[in-house]
Every structure is written in structure tokens, then in C-alpha cells.
């Protein structure tokens, strides 16, 4: 039995510990928002957040996730309220086909945790996922917008 948390829920699963987390999420837990793109950790479509850090789930054996806290795109919204990034993604009308966007949004989420107000060079350096539709200009704008939304949210809460 392999035990870990996904989006706050405890998971206990009987599977080959070598099976990559990606396929456990998709096939066993039906969390299909995490995508298969390349299978070699290159494109970033399979990106998830594990204990606050980015991970490419297509190369990560599920056995190594034991006891850890996994966040997928399905778990980003809190109590039905979209995360600032998701809202900015809608405001800026970012997605085209949308297939890479789960990984993009999660990559951006970790970036904003470490750099709350990233300038374009920082964004360009840190977001290395592939979008074949070429939504990059809007991704860049949406990340900056989300940073502003977070700042406003934080200020309002004070």
C-alpha cells in the first residue's frame, strides 16, 4: 500500500511503486487534469506540486511520493473560488487548446510562492513548459496580473 495526499485527501493505493505518479493520478484516481505530453519530463504537461515544489509526474515513481502532499490542477481552487492565476488566465483569455495549461498554471503558482512579483525575465526563465498553440504572450501577462490580484487580495485582508 502506498499512502500519500492528493489535494488534501488521503490516498491509499495498492499498485506497483514504480508506476509513475502521472498514471496513478489519471488512471487510478481519474484526475485527468494532469496531462501526458512527452513521458520524459521535458514538456511540463504533467506538472504537479509536491510539498510546495514543482514535479514532473510522468517520471516520478509513485513509491517516492509516500507520505507527501500532492496538489493537482483540480485542487488549486479553494472552496470553489478560483485561484488568482486561474482568474487571471480567464481574464487574459490565455488557453487555446488548453492541454498544457494545467502544467503552466501550477508552474506559475510555485513561481509566485517564491517570487511574489516576478518581472518578465524571471517569468521567462522559470516557466519552461511547452505550449504548442503559442499562448506564451498571454501566459506572461496573466502571471503578472495574478501577482497584482494576490497583492490586492493581501492588502484588502490587512
Amino acid at each position: 500500500m502506498i499512502e500519500f495526499k492528493v489535494n488534501g485527501q488521503c490516498i491509499s493505493i495498492d499498485t506497483d511503486p514504480e508506476k509513475p505518479l502521472l498514471w496513478v493520478l489519471r488512471e487510478d484516481l481519474t484526475l485527468t487534469g494532469t496531462k501526458y505530453g512527452c513521458g520524459i519530463g521535458n514538456c511540463g504537461a504533467c506538472t504537479v506540486i509536491i510539498d510546495g515544489k514543482l514535479a514532473r509526474s510522468c517520471m516520478l515513481p509513485v513509491g517516492k511520493v509516500t507520505g507527501k502532499d500532492v496538489v493537482t490542477i483540480e485542487g488549486l481552487a479553494e472552496k470553489g473560488t478560483l485561484n488568482e492565476l486561474q482568474q487571471a488566465w480567464i481574464d487574459e483569455q490565455v488557453p487555446q487548446c488548453g492541454y498544457c495549461q494545467s502544467g503552466m498554471i501550477l508552474s506559475a503558482a510555485v513561481l509566485l510562492e517564491t517570487v511574489p512579483d516576478p518581472a518578465p525575465p524571471e517569468i521567462r526563465k522559470k516557466v519552461t513548459n511547452i505550449c504548442r498553440c503559442g499562448t506564451y504572450p498571454r501566459i506572461e501577462k496573466a502571471i503578472q496580473k495574478a501577482a497584482r490580484l494576490r497583492k490586492q487580495g493581501g492588502d484588502n485582508a490587512k
Binding site: W23, R26, Y99, K125, P137
Partner: protein, 743 residues
């Protein structure tokens, strides 16, 4: 079939369908439910081009329903209905069904019987523009008529407002849903006057895309996301040497692995079915496979180049265009310039790998696929049934959202394989996924092409004669052979169509023209790659025009303006582009602008690229793109901008990195690590301007790609002082740089 709730009524059906009652529910464009909720059935696949929103907007404009209302939903219908045929796509073959006449009548008759439901060729809006607005208008008319009869008031006194019929004098109001049952029993008139542009409420406005909310929270279901109780998973491997087939498979070791259910082989592929895709993919490596050799010399990139050169050197090539008299023109020409250009083979590499889920039970085949054509899905299932020796009673194709299509997701092979596998596993849903390596190595490639020019210039340096010879593999021949076993006869114009596309009809005014083409055979499968032949020919033609301008010592934009007299739409694009790009601005020697302008898919797009040469780092960076698009009446401006941005990046990937190579009969590249894509770090600053227009809308998915590649090539040629005659750019010995953004 889809479950229909009792309280729903169907409107917008033809009279014949209405007679058959409730079960024709799927055959509609629009379903209206309790609480005045609207579900639009859009028979074009949403692959990021924004078609769900664009077509819904066309209906909504005349129907008078806000497409961004909370009560609006959109989905792809399962039914193969005649009226879902994409007649707009046939216009590419010069069949215009909107014109009255015997040909048009017959074509409609045939395709109403055998629906051609396909998303491609940037044709969806072109096809829908008149008929979907008319459908909306007729449906609105039905609601008004039903309400006015119920209220016993003249229909002329009724108006509508966002899903409601209003009777001003009495102040009465009814939701469309309240009168839907009556409305669907009233036949609307065949013709109704449609709104003029100044009356539009939604067309031309920035409607929010209907598919986007589902794409930020993981809830959008792509074909590859189909999951069902008891599902098993298949991974496929094709004979790596193109053209070979499977002789024998020793599956003992693979079948002994835990989780492996079955190994199935057919023709040139073998698939493992297992309890997980990961297990299936791993098991593929344990198969011992012997192949039937295709009997040809193993191809490689050099041999393909030789085939191209031989084809080009051949006498008696197919003449595509002839105008004036080249020989006579050449006698008057002061100067003759010659150049030969080459392009590489390119893969689609959509982010969602090829996949189809299939469920075969009791003679019924259900398919779930991110497909550009439900017609092809049904054809594929029937083929597979024939190959497997079973008879199908029914095929139900569910078209899911597509994680990037670009032309590859209308192919027969994937749904064929999935259906074939499902027949071997009756009663069990099977999901087939092509591993990324297969997706790249067994793609239907954009062919590499060679194009040779000889241009005679007059005293002022403008072309008097234009000879262009083009050679490559035939896309259409490859497609008809693999899909229908029907090669196209040599000499038939269709065989050359996608080789010469865009080059065969120049918009530049040149008195003497001769355009010839030759095709050759090779065991490489070819397909439609975003903008197809235009992606090659825009690079060739626009590079050559720039060379002519350089030779004449004339500014390349001014040079084109002179040659485009008589092409008002292209001239407008050029003029707008001149302003948008600040074309005349002075710039350091390390910076240069390059131009490309192209007409394709009924739209006109001009692009200016700015390139920066860093001599020290030996890099060239495309730092800025200015783009002007005239796609006729703009339906959804923000989405037009989005498609242009995407086209620029798509072009940039091809320009910087794109190349599929062959060695020993196999494809060299296999994944995103060796078939590279432009990333955010490479992204130039992009400005897009849309020309306001009253023309019939053209496409927006593809026409931005050809001029972008051309503009980048011209900018890089200028900044390096070396004419780029071959793609990708790295062939010149310079690497792509990263634009610096200071804001």
C-alpha cells in the same frame, strides 16, 4: 445515444426530422431546456481555434441570446447529420454550394446523404457565416411566431431580448423555453433578412471564450482523458523503418508481465493491451519483432534531397500556371536572378498525443476521440470491423475537445487501431494512446520541398518574368493511398495541389509567369500541417521577392506596394503594417526588419519581424513581430489576435528548430528533446492589428503561419547579410537567441 431529459424541446430542426419526434433530439444545432438554458451543438472540433465560441456567436447574434450568458452551453454533436457537412471546405476545390446551380444542388444532395463532418482548412466560419446566422434568425422567428399566436397579437408587435419574446403594447414577456414546444411545430420561412454589421450585438465584440473556464481547472475532457469503469489501456509501436510491415511477433516475455492482457498486431503495427498505459508501453520493449522489408533502399535525409533534385531536373514537369511568354520577356529583361530554396519535413507534435478510446459490445462501436472528423471516425470503425471480420450495427462517434490538432487529428489510423483492439476485447473499454515517440516518428509530415526560381527584372528592377519550379512528395496522393488505396494519377492537378499551393497564383503583378511542379515517391507519409503548402511557398516566394527588391535597390515594402497595385486588400494590409511596425524607423546595424505578406484561406496577413544579430554570441533573435490581419468581417477580435499570436509562435518553432530527419529508413527525432519547440523565453513581443472589413469572413487558424515564416527569414537574411535559402535557421550556423524584455 445521449440521454435527453423530458422537459427539453428541440428547435431548429428540418420539417422531416420534427415528424419523427423525440429521438431526433441529437440532430439539432440548439437545444433549449428548463430555466431558459441553451445548449448549442457545434459540429466542429474545438482544438483551441475558438470555434465553439465563434459558431455559437453566429447563431446567438440572430437568435438574440447572449453567448456569454450563464445559461449557454456548447458541445459537439455525436450524430452524423447532413446539415453538419462542412461545405465551406469544398470551396477549396472550387465547389461553392452557396451559389445556385446544378453542381451545387448535386453536391448538397450527396453530402446530405453522406455527411462530411470535418474541421480543417480554416473553413468553419466561412462555411457557417450565412447558414448559422440564418438558423438563428429562423429560430428566433419561430419563437416570436409561437408567442404571438399564444397571445393572439400580431407578430410584428413582438420583439426579443436575450432569450425572451416581448410584446410591448401589453407588456407581456415569455422565455424562449416557455414557447419552445409550440415554436418547434411552426415552419420558419426559408429566407429572412439578416442583420447588417451596424446592428451586431455580439459579432465583432470581445466575447469570452466558452471553453476557457474548463481549461483552467482541469475539467475539460480531451479525447485522451476518457476514463471508464473497467477500462484497459493500449500502447502501440509501428515498424520503425517507414514502409516495412510486421512479419512475426514473439510476445512471450511481454505477455508474462503482470498487467499485460493481450498483444495484437496488424499490418505495420503491434499494440499491447494492459491494465495501465505505463505497463503497456513498457511491455512494447519486450516484444521480439521481425519485419517484412519494404524492398526499397533505406531512405535518409540525403537521399530525399537527391530525390528532390532529380525531380526538379526532370524534363516535362507538370505545368501549373502559364501567363505571357517567358522567352520573349527574358529578352527584354535587364538582369536575371536565380535562387533555389529548401525546406525540411516537419511533424505536428500537438501537445495531446494521438489517442482514441473504443468500446465494442453487441455489434455497437462507441468511440471517444479528439478528432477533426467524426465522419473519419465512423469510416475507421467500419474498416476495422471489416478487417476483424465482424459486422457493426452502429458506430457512435463522440468528439472530445482536441489538445492541439494542426491537421493530424483527422487521420484514419488511430480510430482504426482503437476499434480493431476493442473488437479483440468485447465488452471492455480500450483506450489506445500513441507514445510521444510514435506520435513524432509515425506522423503524417509536412513535406520538405525544393523550389527554384529564375526571375527576369526590367530596367527599374521589377519582375518581368517569373519562372518557378517546385518539387516534393504529393500530400494528397499520400493521403488517398493510405486512406482509400487510391493513388492519384500523375498529371492530375490534384496531385500537385498542396505542393504548389499559394505559389501557383501570385498576387504580385508580373507579366510573364511559368510555374511547374514535379512529385516523387518515398515511403514517408504526408499530411496537412497548419497552412499546408502555403507554409513552404510563402517562404520561397517572399524570400525571392525580397531578393528582387534588394537587387533593384528598392525598399522591400515599397517594392511590394508597387507590385500589388490592383490588390486593394493586400495593399491596405501593407499600409497598416508600415505604420504598425514603424517600418521606416532608423535602427542599429545589428537590427533588421523583414516582411512577409500572404493570402491564404480567404484571409490576408502581413507580418514584419525584427531580428537582432549578436555577433559575439553568434545568435540571431526574433525580438518583435508586428502583424496585420484582414480576415473579412471580424467575428471575434480577441480570438483573432490570439490565433495570430499562436501562428507566430508556431512559425517560430519551425523557423528556429523544425526539422524531421531520416536515417536508415527511420525517423531520427522522437520527442520534444530532439524535436524542439519555441518556449516562453523565445517569445518575441507581438502586436496584432485587425483590419476592419465588410467582406465575408475568411479563416484565422492557419493564415498567420505562412507570412510569419517568410518575415522571419527576410529579417534574418537582412541582419546577417546572408540569404537564408534553407530552414531551419540553424542551417546558417547561427543559434536562436532570447529576446530581452525590460518592462
Amino acid at each position: 445515444m445521449q440521454n435527453k431529459k423530458e422537459e427539453k424541446f428541440i428547435v431548429g430542426l428540418t420539417a422531416e426530422e420534427k415528424k419523427t419526434g423525440g429521438e431526433t433530439a441529437l440532430n439539432a444545432w440548439l437545444e433549449i431546456g428548463a430555466g431558459n438554458s441553451f445548449t448549442f451543438f457545434i459540429p466542429r472540433a474545438e482544438m483551441g481555434q475558438g470555434i465553439y465560441t465563434a459558431l455559437t456567436t453566429l447563431i446567438c447574434e440572430e437568435l438574440d441570446v447572449d453567448p456569454n450568458g450563464r445559461n449557454v452551453k456548447v458541445t459537439h454533436p455525436d450524430a452524423l447529420l447532413g446539415e453538419y457537412t462542412n461545405f465551406g471546405m469544398l470551396e477549396d476545390a472550387n465547389i461553392k454550394v452557396e451559389q445556385e446551380g446544378i453542381v451545387s444542388w448535386m453536391v448538397k444532395k450527396v453530402f446530405n446523404k453522406f455527411p462530411l463532418i470535418v474541421t480543417g482548412g480554416s473553413s468553419s466560419v466561412l462555411d457557417a457565416w450565412n447558414r448559422l446566422r440564418l438558423t438563428g434568425a429562423q429560430t428566433r422567428w419561430q419563437f416570436i411566431e409561437a408567442a404571438s399566436r399564444r397571445w393572439n397579437v400580431p407578430a410584428e408587435e413582438c420583439a426579443t431580448d436575450n432569450g425572451f419574446v416581448l410584446h410591448g403594447p401589453s407588456g407581456r414577456k415569455a422565455g424562449y423555453a416557455d414557447v419552445a414546444e409550440d415554436a418547434c411545430r411552426i415552419d420558419p420561412p426559408d429566407h429572412l433578412e439578416l442583420k447588417t454589421k451596424d446592428q451586431f450585438k455580439f459579432i465583432g465584440k470581445d466575447i469570452k471564450r466558452l471553453d476557457i473556464p474548463s481549461k483552467v481547472d482541469g475539467s475539460a475532457v480531451f479525447g485522451i482523458d476518457t476514463e471508464m469503469e473497467g477500462m484497459v489501456y493500449a500502447a502501440v509501436l509501428h515498424a520503425p523503418v517507414l514502409g516495412n510491415t510486421i512479419k512475426t511477433v514473439d510476445a512471450d516475455e511481454a505477455e508474462s508481465l503482470p498487467g499485460v492482457i493481450k498483444v495484437v498486431s496488424y499490418d505495420n503495427w503491434v499494440a499491447v493491451v494492459a491494465t495501465s498505459f505505463w505497463t503497456a508501453k513498457n511491455a512494447l520493449t519486450k516484444l521480439q519483432i521481425a519485419y517484412n522489408e519494404n524492398g526499397k533502399q533505406p531512405l535518409n535525409t540525403r537521399s530525399i534531397r537527391q530525390d528532390q533534385e532529380q525531380a526538379l531536373a526532370k524534363k516535362g514537369k507538370r505545368q501549373i500556371t502559364k501567363k505571357g511568354d517567358i522567352k520573349a520577356g527574358l529578352k527584354k529583361a535587364g538582369r536575371v536572378i536565380k535562387e533555389t530554396f529548401h525546406t525540411p519535413y516537419l511533424a505536428h507534435a500537438a501537445m495531446e498525443p494521438l489517442s482514441t478510446a473504443a468500446f465494442y459490445d453487441n455489434g455497437i462501436m462507441k468511440l471517444w476521440q479528439s478528432s477533426q472528423s467524426s465522419t473519419v471516425m465512423v469510416l475507421a470503425a467500419n474498416r476495422a470491423a471489416k478487417a476483424a471480420g465482424v459486422k457493426l450495427k452502429e458506430v457512435i462517434p463522440h468528439v472530445s475537445m482536441i489538445g492541439g490538432g494542426f491537421g493530424v487529428k483527422g487521420e484514419l489510423d488511430v480510430p482504426f487501431q482503437a476499434s480493431y483492439l476493442a473488437i479483440q476485447c468485447p465488452g471492455v473499454p480500450v483506450k489506445l494512446i500513441w507514445p510521444r515517440e510514435e506520435d513524432i516518428r509515425q506522423d503524417k509530415y509536412r513535406p520538405g520541398v525544393v523550389s527554384r526560381f529564375e526571375v527576369g527584372l526590367d530596367e527599374a528592377g521589377y519582375p518581368l518574368t517569373w519562372s518557378n519550379e517546385i518539387a516534393g512528395q504529393s500530400i494528397l496522393d499520400s493521403l488517398t493511398k493510405r486512406s482509400f488505396g487510391l493513388p492519384i494519377k500523375t498529371g492530375r492537378i490534384a496531385k500537385y495541389k498542396f505542393t504548389t499551393e499559394g505559389a501557383e497564383h501570385l498576387y504580385y503583378s508580373i507579366p510573364h509567369q511559368k510555374i511547374e511542379a514535379e512529385v516523387f515517391e518515398a515511403p514517408i507519409q504526408l499530411g496537412f500541417w497548419r497552412s499546408v503548402g502555403h507554409s513552404n511557398n510563402a517562404f520561397f516566394v517572399e524570400s525571392m521577392i525580397d531578393m528582387c527588391a534588394e537587387s533593384a535597390g528598392v525598399d522591400s515594402l515599397a517594392y511590394r506596394k508597387k507590385l500589388l497595385q490592383g490588390q486593394p486588400r493586400l495593399l491596405t494590409v501593407l499600409t497598416e503594417l508600415e505604420a504598425l511596425s514603424n517600418w521606416q524607423e532608423s535602427r542599429p546595424k545589428t537590427h533588421a526588419k523583414g516582411l512577409g505578406i500572404w493570402h491564404s484561406f480567404q484571409s490576408n496577413v502581413g507580418v514584419v519581424a525584427t531580428a537582432i544579430h549578436d555577433h559575439e554570441k553568434q545568435t540571431v533573435t526574433i525580438s518583435k513581430i508586428d502583424c496585420v490581419v484582414d480576415c473579412g468581417t471580424p467575428i471575434h477580435p480577441d480570438n483573432i489576435r490570439s490565433q495570430m499570436e499562436g501562428s507566430v509562435i508556431f512559425a517560430l518553432s519551425a523557423f528556429y528548430f523544425g526539422e524531421i530527419e531520416f536515417e536508415g529508413g527511420k525517423v531520427v527525432q522522437s520527442n520534444y528533446n530532439d524535436y524542439k519547440m519555441a518556449k516562453l523565453g523565445h517569445t518575441p513581443e507581438i502586436s496584432v492589428k485587425i483590419v476592419d472589413s465588410d467582406h465575408r469572413p475568411g479563416g484565422i487558424g492557419e493564415p498567420g503561419v505562412p507570412p510569419s515564416i517568410a518575415a522571419m527569414a527576410n529579417a534574418v537574411s537582412r541582419v546577417t547579410g546572408k540569404r537564408l535559402t534553407e530552414l531551419p535557421m540553424t542551417k546558417m550556423g547561427v543559434k536562436p537567441g532570447l529576446p530581452v524584455h525590460n518592462d
